[in-house]
């Protein structure tokens, strides 16, 4: 109780000063660009989304001489906490300030108005726009469509599996594209679909044992290619699939090259890449060059913002499959195939 009353006394005496006042906004104009990332739940080390954003910041630090800072959310926080975090980052002279994930949309809308000279990056959301907001979005369904084509071609049993981390609209885009890709390639193929958890339980993005159990279930039902769009939980699915000697398809980054999965790499047929790191890097670069991106910046197949990784030699050796994937890619880029975004 003693500490609490001390805290109360502090709050009572120190009113009127904002944490954001302490930022040194004057120094930022001296040449060096400061960029900041506010992470999604999970933070750095999630082997997926947040890590990809960090990779972009790191690249900007190395190549553009940018000073980067990062901030992580607390569990169970609300919009007010996000507003406070973004405000503190903007006031400290960071430009751009990038919010990773759709949860930052309402907060960015508010803070962007208060800091019209700062560019705000918002990943995975176009619902809130403004002159100083760059909406960095991806056509995940297009990359997933190609994965569907590859899965249908590689499957011998005619049954393939999709594992989604958490049942949210974003992951449903992955499912929609994958299922369409499979069905367009082999109308008779069966797609098993499973989601690991329901929001607000986001364990489905972080617990590999959940992915492992789900993959085991699909393998038992005859699936021989499994695509897991489940962040860190997906590595469990890859492990189970590889141990059974079947094909796994990774997500977000090229998981064939991921150190933690080296033991199973031979069974990672390909990965659906989503170039979050490039989008972060490009935004920082545009601000540094004095031509900040604004509005919707879309990364699709056409710009290689999403795509299929080809680093596994086994992938390239299946020439018929590679040809089918390349043709599908061309058709999507040319607009001959429109990929659905909802299943």
């Amino acid at each position: 109780m003693g500490i609490a009353s001390a805290a109360l006394a502090l709050s009572a005496t120190a009113c009127g000063k904002s944490s954001t006042d302490s930022g040194s906004s004057s120094t930022s104009s001296a040449g060096a660009v400061k960029a900041a990332i506010a992470y999604d739940i999970g933070g750095r080390g999630d082997q997926s989304f947040n890590d990809a954003a960090y990779a972009g910041l790191k690249k900007a630090e190395d190549e553009l001489d940018v000073k980067g800072s990062e901030a992580e959310p607390s569990e169970g926080e609300g919009d007010a906490d996000k507003v406070q975090r973004l405000t503190a980052l903007a006031r400290a002279g960071n430009n751009p300030v990038i919010g990773v994930g759709f949860a930052y949309a309402p907060a960015i809308e508010k803070v962007a108005k208060a800091y019209p000279k700062t560019t705000f990056g918002l990943i995975d959301d176009t619902s809130k726009t403004g002159p100083n907001i760059a909406n960095l979005v991806f056509n995940e369904e297009q990359g997933s469509y190609l994965a569907g084509v590859a899965a249908a071609k590689a499957s011998k049993t005619g049954t393939v599996g999709f594992i989604g981390g958490v049942e949210v609209p974003l992951i449903k885009k992955f499912e929609a594209g994958f299922v369409q890709g499979v069905k367009d390639t082999n109308p008779k193929a069966k797609v098993l679909t499973q989601y690991l958890t329901q929001p607000p339980n986001f364990d489905g993005f972080s617990k590999p044992d959940l992915g492992k159990a789900a993959a085991q279930g699909q393998l038992d039902k005859g699936a021989d290619v499994i695509y897991a769009a489940a962040g860190l939980a997906g590595s469990g699915a890859i492990e189970a699939t590889a141990k059974a000697g079947k094909w796994a398809i990774g997500v977000d980054s090229d998981q064939y090259n991921q150190k933690g999965l080296a033991a199973y790499k031979d069974h990672i047929l390909t990965s659906v890449t989503k170039d979050v790191s490039d989008s972060v890097y490009n935004l920082i670069k545009s601000v540094k060059d004095g031509k900040p991106q604004s509005g919707e910046v879309r990364y699709g197949l056409a710009t290689d913002g999403v795509g299929l990784a080809t680093s596994n030699p086994a992938y390239s050796s299946m020439t018929e499959m590679v040809a089918a994937v390349d043709k599908a890619k061309k058709d999507i880029v040319d607009g001959k195939i429109t990929v659905k975004t909802t299943p």
């Binding site: 109780m1 003693g2 500490i3 609490a4 009353s5 805290a7 109360l8 502090l10 709050s11 120190a14 009113c15 009127g16 000063k17 904002s18 944490s19 954001t20 006042d21 302490s22 800072s69 990062e70 901030a71 992580e72 607390s74 569990e75 169970g76 926080e77 609300g78 919009d79 007010a80 906490d81 507003v83 406070q84 975090r85 405000t87 503190a88 006031r91 759709f102 949860a103 949309a105 309402p106 208060a114 995975d124 959301d125 176009t126 619902s127 909406n135 979005v137 049942e167 949210v168 609209p169 974003l170 329901q198 929001p199 607000p200 339980n201």
Partner: protein, 372 residues
């Protein structure tokens, strides 16, 4: 007389203080063990508490925790462990947001409908556990945990766009639609960049007074505490224990439902996938730490809000903000241990004193004191 009261107060405060001190010491040891400066993060947190935007966050979070902890405490007083506060809170926030977004009424009425919906939903969800306990003897610990999981699935299903949810154009979020401005609870604007203190925070504090009054100054409160202390004894003196169980479960659920209101009516005006979760679990610790007393709970809620909000920027300074999680976790264990230690000490001390006074020939006086 006075001395006896002072003793009671000291013994009452010793438990939480012992728990807090040991949690701070252990957290510092953890920091030392990981090779970090143990003092600097604490200093940074105290610095942060001096900023008014952080203060606003602390005040608002205190209100939210206070409501949820009152919900837990009312169960504790009745010897019921409502672990389902989190589920009741989420379901109530979701359903009331849905109702609030689908109707439009003049200001106060609109807010009243939303608040009542939240209370009824929370009470309904907790009431299921209450009915299961009174009719089938199902432990409320088990049933409320299970109801939490069911609430998660139910909310996830209700919020699908094909049911009642809305997916805003270009967003990857799902919401229940925006509540019209007439249903926003007015707050106190603390100036540009500092945020707004939710008006509902004051409702939360007022409910603390109501809680105290009902429990300590009404027949119902007496029955509730009596049943909590001994169900069979209460039954023998004419209290319908089953009815008390159900009623307190309903009250607990209604309060749990209210704990979503500061956020919903003051900030988000919609229930979405990123609506804050876990409030109901933190509240259990807060109620324990506050010894189910409205004033104790207030300080415990304030402490937890302080720990959370002042630590949120520690990672920018290079310190893991998870240290507050460690601190909170240790508090839970330490509270249980220290309360037991203090209770035993108090008991021994009382016996000692009675013994001393008896030996001094003051038996008559002691009798009076004990009776008082």
């Amino acid at each position: 007389m006075m001395k006896f009261d002072k003793d009671k107060l000291i013994i009452g405060a010793a438990g939480p203080v012992l728990a807090l001190v040991s949690s701070f010491v252990l957290t510092m040891l953890v920091l030392l063990a990981t090779g970090l400066d143990p003092i600097e993060p604490i200093r940074l947190m105290i610095d942060n508490a001096g900023f008014s935007d952080i203060q606003v966050l602390i005040v608002n979070q205190t209100g939210i925790y206070y409501l949820a902890a009152l919900a837990v405490a009312i169960g504790f007083r009745m010897n019921l462990f409502n672990i389902g506060v989190d589920g009741q809170y989420r379901l109530a926030a979701m359903v009331s947001a849905l109702v609030g977004a689908s109707i439009e009424l003049p200001g106060p009425l609109h807010i009243l409908v939303i608040v009542l919906t939240a209370m009824l939903t929370g009470a309904f969800w907790a009431g299921i556990a209450g009915i299961l306990k009174t009719t089938r003897g199902v432990s409320e610990v088990v049933s409320t945990i299970m109801l939490n999981a069911i609430a998660t699935s139910l909310v996830a299903w209700l919020i699908l766009p094909k049911n009642f949810g809305v997916q805003p154009e270009g967003s990857n979020n799902l919401t229940t639609g925006e509540i019209a401005e007439s249903g926003w609870f007015p707050g106190i604007d603390m100036g540009e960049g500092n945020g707004v203190i939710y008006g509902f925070t004051f409702v939360a504090l007022a409910l603390g007074v109501v809680y105290w009054f009902v429990l300590n100054r009404t027949r119902f409160g007496f029955d509730l505490r009596a049943t909590g202390a001994s169900e069979s004894a209460a039954q023998a003196s004419g209290v319908d224990a089953k009815r008390m169980i159900l009623t307190s479960m309903l009250l607990s659920g209604a309060l749990a439902g209210l704990s979503g209101m500061p956020t919903l009516l003051g900030e988000t005006h919609t229930y979405s996938l990123d609506f804050p979760v876990g409030v109901g679990f933190t509240a259990i610790t807060i109620a324990l730490l506050g010894r189910n007393h409205p004033v104790g709970i207030f300080f415990a809620a304030l402490l937890f809000a302080f720990l959370e909000k002042t630590s949120s920027s520690l990672d920018v300074a290079g310190y893991p903000k998870e240290i507050t999680k460690i601190m909170q976790g240790i508090i839970v264990i330490a509270v249980v241990v220290s309360y037991e230690l203090v209770r035993r000490y108090g008991l021994r001390r009382q016996q000692q004193k009675v013994g001393e006074e008896l030996a001094a020939g003051g038996a008559l006086k002691t009798d009076k004191e004990v009776a008082a």
